[in-house]
Amino acid sequence: MALDDRKDTDFKFVGTRPDRPDGHDKVTGKARFGADAHAPGMLHGAIVRSPHAHARILRIDTTKAEALDGVKAVVTRADFAHGLSGEFGFVLENVMAGDKALYDGHAVAAIAASSALIARDAAKLVKVDYEILPHVTDVDAAMAESAPILNSSYADASVPEGLHPNVVRYHESGHGDVDAGFAKADLIIEDSFKTEATHQGYIEPHACLATLGSDGKGELWCTTQGHWIAQKTCAALVGIDTSQLRVTASEIGGGFGGKTTVFVEPVALALSRKANRPVKIVMNRSEVFRATGPTSSTSMDVKIGMTKDGTITAAQGTFRLQGGAFPGAPMEFSAMCAFAPYALDNVQQIGYDVISNRPKQAAYRAPGAPMASFAVESVIDELCKKLGLDPIEVRLKNASREGTKASYGPRFQRIGLVETLEAAKSHPHYSAPLKPGQGRGVSCGFWFNHGGETSVSLALSEDGTCQISVGTPDIGGSRASMALMAAEVLGIDYENFRVTVADTATLGYNDVSHGSRVTYASGLATIKAAKDAVNKLCKRAAAKWGIPEDAVYWEDGCAKPSGANAGNFDPIPLAEITKNMGSTGGPISGHFEATPEGAGVSFGTHIVDAEVDPETGKTAVVRYTVIQDAGKAIHPTYVEGQFQGGAAQGIGWALNEEYIYGEDGRLQNSIFLDYRVPVASDLPMIDTVIVEVPNPGHPYGVRGVGETGIVPPLAAIANAVSAAAGVRLRHLPMSPPRILRALKAQTRED
């Protein structure tokens, strides 16, 4: 892609911190989220869910439910499309069970009724006969020979022979000769680690309002990270043409990867078709926990060899991820990200995707990477301790740089890992004294980032203001970033822009707001669309002046003749051109549709101080610093926000959050009281340092910043806690009981 409008310095708008355009609506309660929609004649939906972890569905009797006054429709699997395969097949199986319920909370039927209370009452009247089957929820247990088989047809050709059918995909990559590398090491540490499943924990439950007629035309309003994927998936699941379903994305109350797929949306559409009325479904929190995507839980082995001077000679990792009842656990990303921060001659990484009787995992911020990073960076920390080396110096010594052959294969382009490590080393946090009982941990982290299909449209108004339509739901202030980048190109003030997240009927296809892609890809598209409009503006000025188009250029919001040869004309401001654009050639708009392929990978380094109470095992995070390469921060305040949010979620994952399953295979902590995410009194202020090493694949150098921030915290905190407690913690979360057990075990060893 030509980067003719590339710019690294002298920004006028980019890098400033204006108020976000949607701020007013969001502080006054006016912003409309998923559950805030109503429609005339609307029904309310409720879903009947399996109480069993693994059971054959013998019979579903809906007679009593249908007899209840106010019940207008009941659907089961028979009411959805037949014969779907691949990911659509898995998603359908997940949103409505077929022959078997595969986890506690798996949907088996749904009701639409005239009120939410009646729908809920009716759901209780649906009688399902189950044949209970043996279940498994732990990743290691699911791989064991004796494990119950969930589905014997899921394993693909990559899986080596002799493994349990629950192992459905396999990844192996690396280079060099790890055995020869280990032979050169002065010290080798090999250790095993586990992490429990966590949930993205967005505060807004899944919600939608659907209308579908027997004519195959539908409307869907839903909270989603990507309404085009929702459109495509829902259309397939209810058996209609994609273009006949218009999807509007509501404001989104958090997603973090968990809203990149559909759950209640196809069900509401199927109910609506049957009842011939609009149907709204809103999940309750327990449904969110039981039936929507948590992360994978993991079991990992990591072996690293190091010389006395801190050079890593070889590294090897095995990453086993259970991803619920369907293939898709992001084990290849665990494997590929695990050692990416380091320049290694000898490296090997192996991943196993394992199915178990849990909900289908969904992406969660840098899916797969945080867990792998926890295992790898814990071993590096232990090596540094044993060899008496400074953890940042060792990381600097081995750091990946431009041209380094990455652990996952290709060579890195321009990257900023070393810059984050240097910033960490010189940050006052790193040299601040620790109090007794406190420990300090550091960790690096890596994430790929993503481009994806992107369409942006930009329309100028007669008064010289500008409307931008983007297709990526705004999950954290991206409207502001789009307006800043467009202002930079058009040379008019930020306040002149209105940015709208357009529906699927208004704009071409857009990939989901995921992969840290929005500021990168929608930003690039906005710049290109604005540039397209600028070219048209210049053309109008050229026509007015009677000079060639290429003799006009755009600067400071005005068309100007390019030098004396072009002629001596006064610059024409944008609003002068748009004022009568209808009669000088028609409305002026800019467009851009493409799949940008230069996302640019990203690295971060975190420093954390933790204090462990040996009596209770409770950990307090007392100081936290995030240092990350943003390429170029378009709106630095929202970049800081991404850093802080990633760190906070990482703190929750490291210390508190976990899915707890009972012997019966049922989730035991499906409300926020028992699944405890960090609250305000748990956290310190989170300091941030934005490093800017421009991404060559974006006109202004942007790298995505949303995901990398959750990669280092697990290890950084584990290293800090291990230092504070004097014992290595190998199992996340490091909840008080686990820390106490580790302290006790150590006392016994002593």
């Binding site: 911190r17 108020d19 976000r20 949607d22 701020g23 007013h24 969001k26 502080v27 006054t28 309660g29 006016k30 912003a31 409309r32 989220f33 559950a35 805030d36 109503h38 939410a116 209370l117 993205q200 924990g201 967005y202 505060i203 807004e204 439950p205 404001e251 989104i252 109350g253 958090g254 997603g255 973090f256 809103v282 309750n284 929190r285 999950i475 954290g476 202030g477 305040t637 929202y638 800081e640 926000g641 991404q642 802080q644 949010g645 760190a647 906070a648 979620q649 409300i671 926020f672 009281l673 995410v677 960090p678 609250v679 305000a680 009194s681 748990d682 956290l683 202020m685 989170i686």
Partner: protein, 159 residues
Amino acid sequence: MKNTHVTTTINGDPVEYLCDTRETMLDVLRDRLNLTGAKEGCGTGDCGACSITVDDRLVCSCLMLGVEAEGKKITTVEGMAEGENLHPLQKKFIEYAALQCGICTPGILVAAKSLLEKNPNPTEEEVRFWLAGNLCRCTGYDKIIRAVMDTAADMRGAS
């Protein structure tokens, strides 16, 4: 099912409604009165997204029944601004980017306003503990705490 008639005051306006005795105050606000500013994040009083005040006391509206509003004085986020003028907390939240997705924001604003009415000069620790019942998953709370502290300082300076 027979509904109950309730007479109450919401954001200064006299309001009457009928509701099922099982409906929560949050259900009534959102589904019967179209006041969708208060959000349901959990339904169990853990997340605070549905925070309102009842006779000046901070309450999770998902833990209160609609019929309990009889004769009470309710305020919600919709009643925070005065006419076209935003409350200082609302302004500061925008200025400080103390929101990312914005779903927890109405509840946090209502809770923070209630704090500042009781304690115009809170310490950081007091703000953190007061807001411990309001979950935010996006921000890590940093900018929220700063926005509340700075609003408090501004309001003290102004009075």
